[in-house]
């Protein structure tokens, strides 16, 4: 099958068995790869009501048809499972070199279920697959674990690891790879840790069949040439994603002090330029990427000097301005702490910012938080809380449940300022002044994440106070952006440099030999979107509109200052946004897919199942 390695690697950690299954035409035709494969297996194989930490949950690690090939940045691996953060479908993707190596080993996706008796790691060396003992790695940090496995196995192996936070089951524990790349969101690391799986090590030496190798060379050569000649490339290479921070602040979207504000007065200390001038020691790229947005930085704190990849924008926003740290070196150090512990920086920045605001407002007192002086701007407090969360020690046990879990204990006033949707903490764009972006967060299938639809410029262009007519743009983005996660390619070249989508449309047939148009691929993405929504509807009898509702802060408090001071969104506005969105999607007024919508998308079996359960009509 062109563009694919040709097999799914099955792993049952409970029995210790592994076996390959052939990749099927149905799976490729309907779900493309990456997140599409993840959605398929999670829906099909995780029974309703399954414990996300239990052996019935599956962890799906999947590349796509573009991954590992000669084209700009075919570097993406999607990791999917039932999320412990939301109890719903979750996924997160990771760059680096894992996707390419996985395909070279002959594997398009690994589907892992069960739970190993003892700490283990999965070893893949072409056709040799073993579940190996990892007791010597248990308890170690993510980066240290990768270092040790590289020493033991050799540099050719690409390795994904989890840290202590995954071992203790923190709901926002992440999976790490390449000493600084993370599948950060939805607690995919916690699922891996719950299976006693400390790491995955992969080496491959096989090729990937391509339908038209001359066509691939021709289109890709032109694509690389165009990227290399783009004057924006140097800026990306110099500043990486940290350059977003000052822009986000300038338009009033930078999360500040637990999303109380969206404009940070000390932003200059967090800018990409300052980062470049003060702490960057070298640039770093993922597989076949000319942008090289990764920045390896040096940071010191408490007498310790560390090297860390990052911080990029999201980390700078959530750990920096959201916790009111004022220097990029402080953010970089906190980034290192999170990476080594295996904590998602986005959720950790939210959780610590939330705790800081609760403490400063008197919602909790010092005894509630183990005597920590949890004030905004304190890197000491950030680090102390991060270590407690990873160990689930003292207040860390509560905060390890995320802001939604903590708010259940700290009460109604804290619930008002717990910034999440569906249990997943909000990523780096405060959206009271951007209704379509607010809707994108509300309806994102994994919870409050920006990667499915990023539409702030649409709000600015059309009018930031306009509500009506914006849902269609969000739906459009929710199909095209996740397509990159399905084909296994990074979308930065397109979203940041304006690299034409036409290149990807040209690459798809020369790689796969399939005659699907770009529009056909977008319909497959719509199918995947409806499948993940159906997972939620099947999972919870009462799932619906209320689960798409944003945090109360966003409709009860206007923005206090900055470029969009006074902006707010009302509950009526939110209902208008959702009504239009559900209509555009072919869902009912409660946000459940209609039977005819599922059937139009080739999901008749899903429609029958949900109808039998009485979940849809």
């Amino acid at each position: 099958m062109y563009g694919y390695a040709g097999s799914i690697l099955r792993v049952d950690l409970s029995s210790g068995k592994t076996w390959p299954e052939p990749l099927t035409e149905d799976l490729v035709h309907n779900y493309i790869g990456g997140r599409g494969f993840g959605a398929y297996y999670v829906y099909k194989e995780v029974p309703p009501g399954a414990d996300p930490y239990g052996p019935d949950n599956v962890l799906v690690i999947a590349s796509g048809p573009f991954a590992g090939l000669f084209l700009p940045s075919g570097a993406k691996t999607s990791i999917s499972a039932k999320s412990p953060a939301t109890g719903l479908y979750g996924d997160s993707n990771i760059g680096g070199h894992l996707a390419a190596e996985l395909k070279y080993s002959g594997v398009d996706a690994i589907v892992i279920r069960g739970k190993a008796e003892a700490p283990s790691y999965l070893f893949i060396d072409d056709d040799r697959v073993e579940i190996r003992n990892a007791e010597h790695l248990w308890g170690l940090g993510s980066i240290k674990t990768e270092e040790i496995l590289k020493e033991e196995l050799g540099d050719e192996f690409q390795i994904a690891t989890v840290g202590p936070a995954a071992e203790t089951g923190v709901v926002f524990a992440c999976i790490n790879h390449d000493f600084g790349r993370q599948a950060g969101r939805c607690g995919m690391g916690a699922v891996m840790g719950s299976k006693n799986l400390k790491a995955i090590a992969v080496r491959g030496t096989k090729g990937v069949p391509v339908a038209d190798i001359d066509g691939l060379k021709k289109v890709s050569s032109a694509a690389f040439r165009e990227l290399l000649e783009d004057p924006a490339l140097k800026i990306w290479q110099d500043l990486g994603l940290a350059q977003v921070t000052t822009w986000s602040n300038s338009i009033g979207a930078l999360p500040t002090r637990n999303f109380h504000e969206n404009f940070y007065e000390d932003v200059d200390g967090l800018s990409g330029e300052i980062m470049r001038e003060t702490i960057v020691v070298r640039d770093k790229a993922c597989f076949a990427c000319p942008m090289a947005t990764g920045k390896v930085c040096k940071a010191s704190f408490r007498g310790k000097t560390v090297l860390v990849e990052g911080p990029e924008y999201e980390t700078t926003a959530l750990i920096g301005s959201n916790c009111a740290l004022s220097s990029i070196e402080e953010v970089a150090y906190a980034n290192y702490v999170c990476d080594e512990l295996g904590l998602d920086t986005i959720s950790t920045g939210n959780v610590v910012g939330f705790a800081m605001e609760c403490f400063e407002k008197g919602i909790i007192n010092k005894e509630d938080i183990d005597g920590i002086e949890a004030r905004f701007g304190s890197l000491d407090a950030f680090c102390d809380l991060a270590y407690k969360i990873a160990a689930k020690e003292g207040v860390g046990e509560l905060l390890a449940q995320g802001v939604a879990g903590a708010a259940k204990v700290w009460g109604d006033e804290s619930d008002r300022i717990a910034i999440h949707v569906k249990g997943l903490e909000w990523s780096g764009y405060e959206s009271r002044g951007a209704p379509s972006m607010m809707l994108a967060y509300m309806t994102c299938d994994i919870g409050a994440h920006h990667n499915r639809a990023w539409s702030i410029t649409h709000d600015i262009e059309v009018g930031r106070d306009i509500i009506e007519g914006k849902a269609a743009k969000v739906v459009e983005f929710q199909h095209v952006r996740p397509l990159f996660d399905c084909i296994g390619v990074c979308r930065l070249q397109w979203v940041e440099m304006g690299f034409p989508l036409e290149y990807y449309a040209k690459l798809y047939p020369v790689i796969t030999g399939r005659n699907d148009s770009w529009e056909d691929l977008l319909v497959k993405c719509e199918r995947i979107w409806n499948l993940t929504r159906s997972f939620a509807v099947r999972e919870r009898e009462d799932f619906g509109r209320k689960d798409d509702w944003p945090p109360r802060r966003f409709y009860e408090e206007p923005v206090p200052d900055g470029p969009v001071a006074g902006s707010h969104i009302t509950e009526d506005d939110l209902n208008v946004l959702l009504d239009e969105y559900y209509e555009a999607r072919g869902w009912d007024v409660n946000g459940r897919p209609k039977s005819e919508t599922l059937e139009r998308l080739g999901l008749k079996d899903v429609a029958i199942e949900l109808r039998k359960m009485g979940r849809i009509s």
Binding site: V244, S248, T457, E496, G498
Partner: protein, 77 residues
């Protein structure tokens, strides 16, 4: 004085009405922001500005004949 705004391909991909470049006439002492507002940009609709091989701040005073490359806002992935 006259300055030239050059619009990157990515920016033109978002704002379809833009040509590759636009010459703007400004009073002496005008800034890059003034140039963009004179070209009917709304605050927040542009991203990084480049002049020569360096960044140009929006509040930087421009010189006669200066060229500014305008990139779009960036999404952080």
């Amino acid at each position: 004085m006259k300055v030239t705004l050059k619009f990157s391909r990515a920016l033109r991909g978002i704002y379809k009405h833009l040509d590759e470049e636009m010459e703007i006439t400004l009073e002496a002492g005008a800034t890059a922001r003034d140039a963009l507002l004179a070209a009917n940009f709304i605050e927040g609709t542009w991203g990084v500005l480049i002049t020569g091989d360096r960044l140009c701040r929006a509040n930087e005073e421009l010189e006669d004949g200066q060229e500014i490359m305008v990139l779009p806002p960036v999404s952080g992935g």
